[in-house]
Subunit: 284 residues, 3 copies
Amino acid sequence: MKKILLQLDNDKFASVFDAVTAYDAGIDSLLQYGGVQPEDVRNLIYGEMFTRGGEDLKNSAAFIGGSNVEAGEAMLKAAKDSFFGPVRVSLMMDANGCNTTATAAVAKMLAHGDLSGKKVAILAGTGPVGLRAAALLAKEGADVVLTSRGLEKAEKACASIEERFGVKVAPQAAATPEDYNAVLQGVTAVLTCGAAGVQCVSEEMWKANDSLKVLADVNAVPPVGIEGVKSHWNGKEVEGKFLYGALGIGGFKMKLHRACVAKLFEQNDLVLDAEEIFGIAKTL
Amino acid sequence: MKKILLQLDNDKFASVFDAVTAYDAGIDSLLQYGGVQPEDVRNLIYGEMFTRGGEDLKNSAAFIGGSNVEAGEAMLKAAKDSFFGPVRVSLMMDANGCNTTATAAVAKMLAHGDLSGKKVAILAGTGPVGLRAAALLAKEGADVVLTSRGLEKAEKACASIEERFGVKVAPQAAATPEDYNAVLQGVTAVLTCGAAGVQCVSEEMWKANDSLKVLADVNAVPPVGIEGVKSHWNGKEVEGKFLYGALGIGGFKMKLHRACVAKLFEQNDLVLDAEEIFGIAKTL
Amino acid sequence: MKKILLQLDNDKFASVFDAVTAYDAGIDSLLQYGGVQPEDVRNLIYGEMFTRGGEDLKNSAAFIGGSNVEAGEAMLKAAKDSFFGPVRVSLMMDANGCNTTATAAVAKMLAHGDLSGKKVAILAGTGPVGLRAAALLAKEGADVVLTSRGLEKAEKACASIEERFGVKVAPQAAATPEDYNAVLQGVTAVLTCGAAGVQCVSEEMWKANDSLKVLADVNAVPPVGIEGVKSHWNGKEVEGKFLYGALGIGGFKMKLHRACVAKLFEQNDLVLDAEEIFGIAKTL
């Protein structure tokens, strides 16, 4: 019986990236659907639920993607709401790579020692990756601050984290080099999640900061979020600090993405969202 | 050489149900096309006709589906009209599951003895499943009555059956419990095809009916068409009568669907519509 | 690791012809995308570039097709412009079959002796096949004339050939039997590329022409471009001349198309456009 992955994507064209990665995770056949809205999900998922039974259902699974993360979350909910008791298939949600990217970045940040009770900063963190990284680090016991240019936006982000993940993250406004420098005082690990071309941390700033031990940046397009960091750095040690660029994190993200898709076919009732994907990251 | 199935579907998203079933029938690769109109079919079918030759053509076939059954019939005609003599591929039409569902229900009704010369009723039978079930039973020699709430609609349905299948079915209006009870007098087997939630036959009615031997219902959503029938019943015997629910019929429908798709690849000139699918059902 | 072909097609429905041919060329999985515009290409190609690395990249490739050849050319350019140094995948452009058809026709015309220094005519040659055939023959050293009903259109076509291929082809107006007869004086090989149903060369004309040795026609719908030629003729000798019909050329075109797709997976940096496809044709 073939391992079939149903790719439900909210972009016009279903992601080629997710498709190739699925094949490399060992699936046999892919059913690609682009332009999927949350209200379309039920019928599509039914097509998997009602074609195989019992043990065989674990050979059918669905991947939810697309560049719109909010729509991806609604699609995941719609898929879960379609199930009848044990008649269900395993699901993974990774719209815009938000879960695998955030999880891979957090795993890297944790690779140099426990961050429990330590101060951690997520700069320009109101996007999907920042929100998830902040939440996962807070769940690990870190004392997390999340910044945005406006305080109100940071507060809304932290409220959404508390609602979704049940953990508290401190909101803070930061827009200028001075703001960022103030935020980083006493911080052990920092992740920058700004838009392409937005530099949050200057080289002078991080080299002068004694508490900083791990720095990670998820932006691959120069200028990157942390000055001096090369995209391919994967734990490069510079003056006693460990630095990660987007491609350095990306290698692990890819491995994690493949491991998650492979795992979908081990049982028929997995739901791989941020926490579960982070759990898988810890086993790699 | 890979067994390639071309899925031509008149819904925006090509059916996941039909796709998974096709893989489970043993195909190697599926080409999915959603949003297909009858006028699109010729070019798509040409792509199969002109890529492989002679004996190899049997490794290419097409499945026509989608929730619009009339469009599915027009698509099947367009596909057949595309062929040049022996340059053709095998086709199966099962828009909205009409042929496999009708055929599976009829096979169940015939499982308890010949219905030739017996009175059979198809209640609320003007939809695609009802039309096909009535026609197939009439071709088996049964004396079939087909009901609708309005007589005119029932008459139109019976006329379309005579035109398409060359057999006569008696139209009758039935809307109330009294109507249905009157129709069922002297009837040996009954199939209910009403919309979700429309109950045609009460438990009191069928238990009091001495002639009724087989009762089948293709509606899976409660209240079902025959009161007291459970969806999963697959020939359950109650007071000397045999009862079938939608899921009970559905198990055989799935097996039949897979058998039909597998058969497409045995030769390059099959056209699997109602009669042929019923013929395959008899062999299972 | 599966050989994955990305099919980028500018028609609403990605070509079934190209899909089946790709599978017959030995690919494992196909990702079909219809309705692709040049501006969509970058993101889709990125999905292949960033999912596999190093040696593995040769297992990902892209095929650009669709009935709009100009859009296909723009899509090929967009794909090439997406690459970062060695991070690239192999590409084939064959929108509307233009490259494989033109190349196959030219290969047939060359099968009966060198055409270097000989006079060759491409009649009604301003379409994609005519342009490419004229260019390839000119690159082989032939003295090529390309006709259109209007001189201006022929001149524009020849200018576009010089710009794209760097070779000179002589434009000429030809609309009547007399015009075509005049063009064919002293010509050794002729290819007709007119629209379906347009006959350029009468049987009387070509039989009376002593210089003509090879005649080829790419139109399969009667009346064909060269009177008396049967579509399936594949070098049929008639009164000392060799004649080719559309299906005769088509058999070799198919073989060539499959060989090109197979070749895409031998390395990660091939770009198969007219010249490269012609190069592959010479090896078959």
